[in-house]
């Protein structure tokens, strides 16, 4: 049974142990069973205390069942679901004897809310302990009283922070803000629980004698701020301002969450919970929420990505890596590896270049210290994991080699030829190339089965995606170890077959080049960028080019032009701007001038000489930019570069920042409808006299079968 009750010495224990699962989820079924158990408890007069106990290792409750929420299509339904949970948790809260949630692991979402309904929360020093309300990340608000109870327990400011950021806190933080009443060692937990119960009963600890909302009343200035109406209004005002800025109007859930808390903070429980339930129902049915849930599933699926048909193949441990090329990428890769306790030998052709890599890595560590993600000591010891070299010394002891030298096939080939001798026989030889043929490089070595593509995105420490590029020669062992390394680095992998530009750059550069064509035809650089940021992209195509560097963009475009089709020939205006030396951030000026503030580079307009000026039609431009990506992604599917639409969406979201609330590139395409997509693509093809808009066969097939990329 998932919920059981036992009694011993007048202590009642409600035990949660979901069948056939590693974790507990707060499903409707569990709630129903809990309800029954609570009814039974009410009849027992002898009980002195109730303990909520999870039998799962490192888990109290992982959350509510997202599948149930996903299936909600009517807001009324959602509201009912929330109310049902609230009712049972109220019943728990209303028990007249002390209730204690024992938390020895994660307590997220509904799990957190369940513990909030108890009078006390006793947690352990287990590293896995995390508690929080991540609901807003999925596009809705907590629905089982979290918005009502959390700010009352931890204070308004902390409560808002936790709910709006959706970021769980660890045990010591939870203790500090009063969310936990005590932390105890994991060993001998039952004894510590007994002691906790006797401390509650004895009344010696005055703090424990107070009700949960009175227990953490702040003193001094903080108390004054949180206790007065003026102070509270100030907190709400500030929070709303910040939330609007952070969500850019794309994500309604955090905004709604503040509204809910602002209302129910001043209401009684019945009315307050009603506000929460209503908002939960409204948000749970929105497309944005459905998309965010889909993206959550994607990230969960790909984070744990396993190679099919590789059962029984063990990944090899990676303790030391060699990295070739200490540029922006090499330095970033070295930093990432070092931060995960992997030793790094960083090679370049001269020490000035190596120093650049050290600077890049050090900057990230320093920022980490500034943001208090790292202590100074951690930054120092992790930085010490990186050593520099000009020769191949130290390569023999590397388990994994990542090459990030310039994008030039001849140089890459030489590197791989050298590595045959320089690296150990057991080492995997990976390339961080963004577009060149991994197969060609593999052929240079004595062991092509050990060669694989390991494509990071810039900036390495921020972008979650790694494209893992396999050739027909790459062995399963190599892939398994590579996927394990990606996981060790905290990144999300997608498997891509070796082909020109792989997936993400192939799709993205078609888009950037299309933006260039629009620029040639209509000017309006800023408007094009705004179109895309309004769509939800983290930055527009020209701002993106400035980040990466136009020289790099043009180089890759040429590779794609040669390897795929002339549609990738860099537009004339790019070549002109490149020749004028406006490369982007690295040269101080690109499409924008990068001084203290970013301003459009006035020279760009003068460089546009296109005679056939077209009128700037935002709707058409938006279509051109998005549809060219969809069409290219479909071609990738058609060619079998990737295994499915899921992979495309994962790649675009985690590699380019394609807006998660849109659900992903192809999920977005499905919302447009395949018929609409085909007719618009055909029309654009004719109007612009552009074969690149000729709908991919894959899309035409979908239309034929009346299917979508996902639907049907």
């Amino acid at each position: 049974m998932s919920v059981t009750f036992r009694e011993n010495n007048n202590i009642g224990t409600i035990e949660f142990d979901q069948e056939g699962s590693k974790v507990n989820l707060l499903t409707s079924d569990v709630i129903k069973r809990l309800d029954t158990v609570l009814d039974g408890i009410k009849t027992k007069q002898n009980l002195e205390v109730i303990v909520l106990w999870s039998k799962k290792k490192d888990v109290f409750f992982a959350g509510a069942d997202i599948k149930e929420i996903e299936q909600i299509t009517e807001s009324q339904d959602g509201m009912e679901k929330a109310r049902a949970g609230q009712k049972v948790l109220n019943k728990l809260e209303d028990l007249t004897i002390p209730t204690i949630a024992v938390i020895d692991g994660v307590a997220l979402g509904g799990g957190c809310e369940l513990s909030l309904a108890c009078q006390y929360r006793l947690a352990t020093f287990n590293d896995k302990v995390r508690i929080g309300l991540p609901e807003v990340n999925l596009g809705f608000v907590p629905g089982f009283g979290g918005t009502y109870r959390l700010p009352r327990i931890v204070g308004l400011a902390e409560g808002l922070k936790m709910i709006l950021a959706g970021k769980p806190v660890d045990g010591s933080k939870a203790l500090k803000i009063g969310l936990f009443d005590r932390l105890c060692p994991q060993t001998g937990l039952e004894d510590h629980l007994k002691k906790f119960i006797s401390d509650i009963k004895s009344g010696k600890d005055k703090r424990l004698g107070k009700t949960k909302y009175a227990r953490n009343k702040k003193k001094g200035w903080a108390g004054l701020l949180e206790g007065s109406l003026t102070g509270q209004s100030f907190i709400f005002y500030q929070t709303k301002k910040n939330v609007l800025k952070a969500t850019k109007g794309f994500y309604p859930a955090p905004v709604k969450a503040v509204e809910v808390i602002e209302k129910n903070f001043f209401l009684n429980r019945v009315k307050g919970l009603e506000v929460e339930a209503r908002t939960f129902g409204e948000l749970a049915v929105t497309g944005i929420s459905k998309n965010l849930v889909a993206v959550f599933y994607l990230s969960e699926k790909y984070k744990k990505l396993k190679l099919e048909g590789a059962d029984g193949i063990e990944s090899q441990p990676v303790r030391k890596c060699a990295v070739l090329g200490a540029g922006v990428m090499g330095g970033g890769i070295a930093q990432l590896l070092a931060s995960r306790d992997i030793w790094v030998r960083l090679k370049d052709i001269n020490y000035d270049a190596v120093a650049k890599g050290f600077q890049a890595a050090n900057k990230i560590f320093k920022d980490g210290v500034k943001k208090r993600k790292l202590t100074k000591a951690q930054a120092m010891t992790q930085m010490a994991h990186i050593t520099g070299t000009l020769d191949y010394s130290g390569f023999k002891t590397a388990d994994y080699v990542i090459e990030a030298v310039v994008e030039n096939m001849d140089i890459k080939k030489k590197v791989f030829k050298d590595l045959s001798g320089a690296a150990s026989e057991h080492a995997i030889l990976a390339t961080n190339t963004s577009a060149l043929s991994v197969t060609e490089m593999a052929k240079e070595t004595s062991r092509p089965e050990k060669v694989i593509g390991f494509h990071f995105f810039n900036p390495v420490h921020r972008m979650p995606l790694v494209e893992v590029i396999t050739t027909p020669m790459t062995s399963k062992e190599t892939i398994v170890t590579t996927l394990a390394l990606v996981k060790q680095l905290g990144k999300i992998p997608i498997l891509v077959k070796d082909s020109c530009g792989f997936l993400v750059n192939r799709v993205l550069l078609g888009y950037v080049n299309e933006a260039g064509r629009i620029l040639e035809e209509c000017g309006e650089m800023e408007k094009v960028d705004r179109l895309m940021t309004d769509f939800g992209m983290p930055m527009g195509p020209f701002a993106l080019s400035d980040e990466v560097g136009l020289d790099v963009g043009i180089k890759v475009l040429h590779i794609l032009e040669k390897g795929i089709n002339e549609r990738y020939k860099p537009v004339e205006i790019f070549e002109t701007i490149f020749k004028a030396g406006y490369l982007g951030k690295k040269s101080g000026q690109g499409f924008y001038s990068h001084g203290k503030e970013r301003t459009p580079n006035p020279e760009i307009n003068r460089l546009i000489t296109g005679s056939s000026r077209r009128r700037f039609d935002p709707e058409v431009c938006r279509e051109r930019l998005l549809y060219i990506m969809i069409n290219e992604a479909a071609r990738c599917l058609e060619e079998g570069v990737i295994d499915g639409a899921d992979t495309v969406d994962t790649g675009m979201i985690f590699g380019t920042g394609f807006p998660p609330f849109r659900g992903g590139l192809l999920r977005y395409a499905d919302t447009l409808g395949i018929d609409h997509l085909v007719s618009r693509l055909e029309k654009l093809g004719v109007e612009l006299n552009a074969p690149r808009f000729q709908p991919a066969k894959y899309i035409l097939d979908l239309r034929e079968k009346r299917k979508g990329f996902f639907k049907g």
Partner: protein, 424 residues
């Protein structure tokens, strides 16, 4: 007894106090050489039985600095580490500890080195200031605190300079430079002789720059990581007798001869060696740089500490049953020019040999085989690291010139001498 091999070694460039390594501590320098040695030798760190480092300054933020260095360099946490202190011979002591441990069968492989950041040796509060702060901390009320401030005196303020304290012998009360003056007067060594010796040190060091690169790992110093320091920054290309003659004596202003120019430079640096039993070397089939053949330490009067090598050298020769003529290259650490010259003079003197019973183990050291790559006057003397550097520099020199036997020696503050015979 089993021969003790040195597989390889590495050192940082030696940089004058307050220059390129201004922002690095002894632990960072030590970690750099330790990690680099692991990288270059490709040794499995699990082979190492223990990490031993010599260090004189013993920084307060890295007590048992060897352990800190080991942990920062990827030596497994299960492998222990300890720090040794024998003043200027600390870097030799670390290696000798490894030798002895292998000889008694404690372990087969040791990572031994020396590290010093003389830049980082702190200034101390005066004792009176310390007492004042103690009293202030005890004052509880605002009034009491104000009253306490009333007892403050400005003479509490001047700090004690740690480096100066460290370079002063508490027993004889002389600082190291003053002990050198004692030798100058005793052996009658002139200012010109000293300056000429110093000039030669610079000239040899400048000439040896390329050769010394072999033992140096370029360092890209934190926190800016601006560029790599690839060379020692002590040797002066245009050093002249005239320039040296212009310098004023530091320790005895009126009748002294010791100047900043004919003394060793105050410097930051680190060095490390991988020491292994011959049987383990054979089992792992590793190339060997050389062997530690014999070692000796000797005690002398603290106020004549610079004469230490003149005692340690015959002692080690006797132990090894060798003669001075068997030695093909000699390194005597140049703490002071006068101190090296005094040692040479003592070793040449029959009465010296007779007095101390060194008959047959002293003699003339051919100047053409002495400190051929320059010494501490040009390269600098990061006290904890110098001993390790001498062994490293000697072994690399022996390899380049295909020599079989070399001897290194240095004088030690507090009145000691150390000497080691190396073989290939």
């Amino acid at each position: 007894m089993e021969r003790i091999a040195i597989i390889d070694g590495i050192r940082t460039p030696f940089c004058r106090m307050g220059t390129d390594f201004n922002d690095l501590g002894a632990r960072e320098l030590g970690a750099i050489v330790t990690r680099e040695l692991l990288e270059r030798t490709a040794i499995d760190p699990r082979e190492i039985a223990e990490v031993i480092f010599g260090n004189v300054g013993q920084p307060a933020d890295s007590t048992n600095i060897a352990r800190v260095i080991a942990l920062m360099s990827g030596i497994p946490t299960t492998i222990p580490a300890y720090t040794v202190q024998r003043n200027c011979a600390s870097g030799i002591e670390a290696v000798i500890q490894a030798v002895m441990k292998i000889q008694v069968g404690e372990g087969n492989c040791y990572l031994a080195g020396g590290t010093e950041s003389m830049t980082s040796i702190p200034f101390y509060l005066s004792r009176s200031m310390q007492d004042f702060l103690g009293r202030l901390a005890k004052a509880k009320t605002v009034m009491a605190k104000l009253q306490m401030w009333g007892t403050f005196r400005f003479k509490y303020l001047p700090p004690q300079i740690g480096l100066q304290l460290g370079l002063t012998d508490p027993v004889c009360g002389l600082n190291m430079g003053q002990t050198a003056e004692v030798l100058a007067k005793e052996f009658g060594i002139t200012r010109e002789q000293q300056d000429a010796f110093a000039l030669a040190s610079h000239q040899k060091a400048v000439k040896a720059r390329e050769a010394l690169k072999e033992e140096i790992v370029p360092v890209i110093p934190a926190p800016k990581y601006k560029t790599a320091v690839e060379l020692d920054n002590g040797p002066r290309e245009n050093q002249t007798m005239e320039a040296l003659a212009k310098l004023k004596p530091v320790f005895d202003k009126r009748s002294g001869t010791i100047t900043a120019g004919n003394s060793s430079q105050i410097t930051d640096g680190a060095a490390a060696l991988l020491v292994m039993s011959e049987s383990r070397v054979k089992a792992l089939n590793l190339p060997v740089l050389g062997y530690v053949h014999a070692y000796a330490f000797a005690g002398v009067e603290p106020h004549r500490m610079g004469i230490g090598p003149a005692h340690a050298i015959p002692k080690v020769l006797k132990k090894a049953e060798m003669k001075l003529k068997d030695i093909q290259a000699v390194e005597i650490n140049e703490a002071f020019a006068v101190q090296v010259l005094s040692c040479l003079a003592a070793l040449e003197s029959p009465s010296f040999a007779k007095t101390f019973g060194y008959d047959g183990y002293t003699g003339t050291i051919d100047r053409s085989i002495l400190n051929v790559n320059g010494g501490a006057i040009a390269l600098g003397h990061p006290v904890g690291a110098s001993g390790t550097r001498l062994i490293l520099t000697m072994l690399k020199h022996m390899k380049r010139d295909n020599l079989n036997t070399g001897l290194i020696s240095l004088c030690v503050g507090g009145g000691q001498g150390a000497a080691v015979i190396l073989q290939r």
